[in-house]
Symmetry: C2
Subunit: 742 residues, 2 copies
């Protein structure tokens, strides 16, 4: 017999597509078969026998490579049929089994997650693990999770933008469960929130068969080439391909950079033009006569409306109205809008601009921030759709005029262009974990001067896609006192979404540091306090864990403590943390081994999360938006950080007064505080008490919609170290593979 | 009867795929049919009759929308069956006919090119024409032009990157004909080289049935939001969708910005680190001991080799060798590498950086250029593959050390990271014209300090794809004296490709200006010299045309003059130009009407190009690379510009001496001269003579591979006018459509 057959089997909640290719020869047995389980997350393979002549083998494989109905190939051949030619004929896209001369002897597995062998030696790099797994084509993943063909825009083979129309289509569907991953106060070594996030969805999706989605932030390129390296998770809990995740992705940060810098250029150019032209000349240029017709653009009509000038014919404005219309009268000393680059460029922290003679002496001091610190990034993360984004972009306050009134992006006439530059960035990017479960990568606002959480839109879309029984896992930056507090008070307020569970990530070594262990530095060998059992340090450090559990309880959330296990951690240490955590009110506490074992290493955590999500929980916000700004700050300082009180500098107090006068008093608060301590002093580990939190200055992101008090000095532009990561990064021009990203 | 049928008909050189869906009801006649001619370029539609019940109509349309085998729908219904519901059920992707309530009465056309109705009024904007045409899915276009599925990476529905592996697959195939579009000395109004380029391929592909490809530059976002507006062609000769062409495209310029600025950050950070650390501290940081192992990275081994230190064990270097290795000893006053943004930000033309106290007083003057002026853009345009690009990136000279030796990107350890950032940008982006013919958009180097031509790789790939009888049309920036001269002497030298024909674009109004007509300003009404017949001005202005024809003849190329016709041009004016052009040695001279009529308006030009391409022509370069730098400059000045001689400033002379000493004497020359005159004085129109060309300074782009003499001051950062384009640009949040781009 010879032919192709496609059948569909409906079994319980799953639907299988089966593609069988079969034909018969005289010499050898030969198999081609592939089962795809359509619930997203896992892929099952089954065997089936087909007969074929070895001479036809390569030709038949080549044909199958081209057949879009065949999703993958599994070869099961007698030894005599194995040859380099046969092996090479299978394209990577169709090669479900990872056929190489090394692993030809491997058995076919019942579950793809079993492909992942724990690393043999410490020399295994994340990029090698990432590369060893061939991702599914993104269209296949999109179909698995229930997206329509017209709802995605592919960006190469491994990434796709998902259109916002999905939310309209699924608006009547119930949301899934919503899980936040947060951490204890971080140390320089990192606690692994990203790997836990990825490991958890791998366990839920690929091992427990529950629809699950991870929503993570897009990393800045600055750290990728600077100190920190990539941010795709790590080990066997990664977003793949990690190089695409860590580099340009689908260009969202570049779009933000372009929009941010267009607005910045518009500010200085406008000041120059106003200073060098009469009202009449400005008016003639701003509202020109084209082919005999003179009219206001829609954005100019909007400005007239704000100026309470109810006219639409440019010839009817009085000289006073013309002057008000053409002069934004920006006070350069009040400009808060900075230029950005997505590069760690410390020499741009403080600069002087406008020194060319063409700028006629309009020199001023300015700075560049890292792109992810742009308010436009915070807007992208908080918006719930195009109309809302356009409004927020127009509302951005870039400076005050000389009367102390806010000047906005809309006043500058540039808000429409900003929206146009951001029109694709607003769509979340779909990628996948190492075990083939779906991930949204979208937005990555700075976690100190902004709110440090991925986008509202990605969470909303994922919650619809997973369905009522499914799970969406998202991550908050820094420790729970910062990222989680902002998640609830800012992001949940913007989204209207209510989470079910908080997962609090800790490591034994970080707890030891909070318990009084010596300082640690990335790259340097750890001292014996960290590599040998030390129950005293662990127990003392659990004070920080306890405090963070209490913070989560302030918001009414059940907490599961996830201990991200390292090989030097002892069983006694882990047991101790679990015991203290539960004693402190945690719903459960479990150890996780996702780095070495992928989703299999996080099944226990996934089960605990599933149980906790079925408990009843009610989100309560920490403060009422109607409270005075100072009271809102005091509430966070006392209830979350454990401060005795706050103290505002005169500058901070006068800014608070200004914002209230400008009508911005009812916005939520986004604290800009060090992440390395619950207090404002990075060296104070554990649970500092009795301190007075100093508020040095207060700023406002009106487009994003929050007031941000500055506690101490916040660097918004990282630097490059003496030996940046880029020394090891290279591109092999033959294989097109990247080396040295980690 | 009821059913689906797919058949294939082979007819002459073309292959048709026919998809017919048919069934029968009792009330109405109903048609579904679509013919696709597989030669790229045009699409033919034919009618066929099917019967159907009107109640089933919408459901059937919805089904057909989802069927990937149905490429498009044409409805032919009795009036009674027309309803909003029926009209709305056809998705834009399948809507071949552009069904709206306005044009329901239109006849079905035999050729899609006839869809294009000349604009009724002058108020028709390019973006409206662009939007009125639904582009083919990019996968469909890719298949039509012979790309394999694995050779493209889609970026949304309308763009795809094409992999370089194509060149390897087709390396034995013959190249097609290669046509360069250049222009007379430009005026502020533009002569329409881009529209001629697009119109010409539309005529060749969609009207003459010849395989054809346009290769064009990616525009900078600066002008899009500043003064000039978009650059996708115009009217009925455009690359579509024009908003995607003009905005982020596939992110290449953003990648260049990221790479450029990473290198800039590395330079200043390195100077700071060297100045504040001992040799030993630097060495320990640059070559750290990790897990007990100390070793050089490959990029460091390359530097040791350049230093002639033949050692690979870090512990064996002498203190002198260590010092040489760790100290690049950059002389800050010699830094030529500037930061870039893709924004018209005049306040960054001259700045002071490093003013934050964290930079310890290492303050220096610097500048930002527009991103397309980056040397990395020139490298992208000139490279012939990954290995070559990596080498060029490493060779970039950013400064000299205090001994006067060049310091390169490889010395800074960053060249591998630059290659990684550029790994996707190196793949050309496939788009389409308004008439469905293929276009490569790739690279867009500044036309004054760089060479102003699209990429070598795109041209090479297109020449293979069109086949021996096909045509590739590419465009050179500015007038022929600049863009064409650099095309031959720089781009063709790098590519090894030999063009067949030069198309020289002129407009009647530009010739009038060269003939002594008054100045023109964009946006202002034209004076009567330009709107009424004036044969004297035309005849006088043809001197410039004659001179540019002669320049093309210097390179051994046949020239066809293309007159881009405006409605105020008279027949006598056009005839006069044609006559003078032919008299001056042009192979032919024809008028073009592509703006109003698309490819149909350029058929005559296409036929002339086809004839000329069959003539024998031999490319000769203007100068031998082995000539001294000054002689090469003199040759261009005298033979191309018509200068009496050149005069080097002392600074220019000393730079020439330095570059010769550094071993860069054999590079080609890339003149940085005003494009508004053949001379260095923009106000001198026509054919200036007797002038001495002043060479103010000489610079070098060693990675790109050219020396660039500066004739006068070149602005590398445009500014924003009082009323930038962005005032009119907006995004409709309901329809997601952009308004105001042009």
């Amino acid at each position: 017999t010879e032919g192709t057959e496609t059948m569909q089997i409906n079994h319980a909640q799953f639907c299988y597509n089966i593609n069988v290719f079969f034909w018969q020869g005289s010499d050898f047995f030969f198999i081609f078969l592939f089962f795809r389980k359509k619930a997203h997350g896992s892929v099952f393979l089954k065997r089936c026998f087909v007969f074929c002549l070895v001479e036809q083998l390569v030709d038949e494989i080549l044909k199958l490579n081209e057949d879009p109905k065949i999703h993958g190939l599994v070869l099961d051949l007698p030894i005599g049929a194995l040859s380099g030619r046969v092996i090479n004929s299978v394209t990577p896209e169709k090669d479900v089994d990872g056929i190489t001369d090394v692993n030809l002897g491997r058995l076919i597995r019942g579950d793809l997650s079993e492909c992942f062998v724990p690393p043999a030696a410490s020399a295994v790099f994340d990029i090698e693990i990432s590369r060893a797994q061939t991702p599914k084509a993104i269209e296949v993943l999109a179909k698995e999770i229930g997206l329509l063909a017209g709802e995605i825009e592919s960006f190469g083979r491994n990434k796709a933008k998902v259109k916002l129309s999905l939310l309209e289509r699924l608006k009547e569907h119930p949301d899934g469960k919503y899980v936040l991953v947060a951490g204890i106060t971080p140390t320089p070594l990192g606690e692994g929130k990203s790997t836990v996030t990825v490991g958890l969805v791998q366990a839920l999706g690929a091992h427990l068969g529950i629809n699950s989605f991870a929503c993570v932030r897009q990393p800045s390129q600055g750290p990728t080439f600077g100190v920190k390296g990539g941010a795709a998770g790590g080990g066997y809990a990664q977003v793949i391909p990690m190089e695409e995740f860590n580099l340009h992705l689908t260009g969202d940060i570049h779009a933000i950079t372009a929009a941010n810098n267009l607005l910045a250029a518009a500010i200085d150019a406008r000041i120059l033009h106003e200073a060098t032209q009469s009202d009449k000349a400005l008016y003639n240029r701003l509202v020109p006569t084209i082919n005999g017709v003179r009219q206001f653009s829609p954005i100019q009509l909007a400005r007239l409306k704000r100026l309470r000038v109810d006219k639409s014919d440019p010839s009817t404005l009085t000289p006073g109205e013309v002057s008000n219309f053409v002069r934004l009268d920006i006070d350069p000393s009040t400009i808060t809008w900075q230029r950005v680059v997505d590069t760690n460029d410390r020499f741009l922290r403080k600069i002087t601009i406008g020194q060319s003679s063409t700028e006629k002496g309009f020199i001023r001091e300015a700075q560049f921030d890292i792109a992810v610190a742009s308010e436009i990034m915070a807007i992208l993360a908080l918006t719930d759709g195009l109309a809302d984004m356009n409004k927020r972009l127009g509302n951005i306050v870039v400076a005050n005029n000389r009367k102390g009134q806010p000047v906005t992006a809309e006043d500058l006439g540039v808000s429409g262009a900003l929206a146009v530059l951001m029109k694709d960035a607003i769509k979340p990017t779909l990628m996948q974990t190492l075990e083939g479960t779906p991930v949204f990568v979208h937005a990555g606002p700075f976690a100190n001067i902004a709110h440090g959480n991925s986008s509202v839109l990605a969470d909303k879309m994922a919650l619809k896609l997973v369905g009522e029984q499914g799970f969406v896992v998202t991550e908050a930056g820094f420790g729970a006192d910062i990222g989680m507090e902002k998640f609830f008070n800012i992001k949940c307020r913007a989204s209207g979404l209510y989470p079910n569970v908080v997962v609090l990530v800790a490591t034994i070594r970080a707890l030891k540091m909070h318990g009084g262990g010596p300082n640690v530095t990335a790259g340097k060998p750890l001292t014996k306090e960290y590599t040998e059992e030390n129950l005293k340090l662990v127990a003392d450090g659990c004070s920080n864990l306890q405090k963070q559990i209490q913070i989560a309880h302030l918001f009414g959330m059940p907490v599961i403590v996830a201990i991200n296990v390292f090989k030097s951690d002892t069983e006694a240490e882990i047991d101790l943390v679990c015991q203290i955590a539960k004693h402190s009110g945690a719903y459960d506490a479990v150890s996780c081994n996702h780095w070495a074992a992928g989703g299999r290493g996080t099944v226990q955590l996934a089960e605990a999360v599933e149980r906790a999500a079925n408990e009843k929980s009610t989100l309560s916000f920490l403060y009422d938006l109607k409270l005075p700004i100072v009271e809102k700050i005091r509430t966070i300082a006392q209830k979350v950080y454990g401060a005795k009180d706050i103290e505002l500098s005169p500058e901070a107090q006068s800014k608070v007064d200004l914002y209230v006068k400008q009508g911005f008093g009812d916005l939520p608060i986004c604290m800009a505080k060090t992440h390395l301590s619950l207090s404002h002093q990075p060296e104070r580990k554990g649970v500092p008490t009795g301190f007075i939190l100093p508020i040095r200055d207060v700023r406002a992101s009106i487009g994003a919609g929050f007031i941000y008090p500055l506690v101490g000095t916040m660097s918004t532009m990282p630097g490059l170290p003496t030996r940046p990561c880029f020394y090891d990064i290279d591109l092999d021009s033959d294989t097109e593979q990247i080396t040295g990203l980690f």
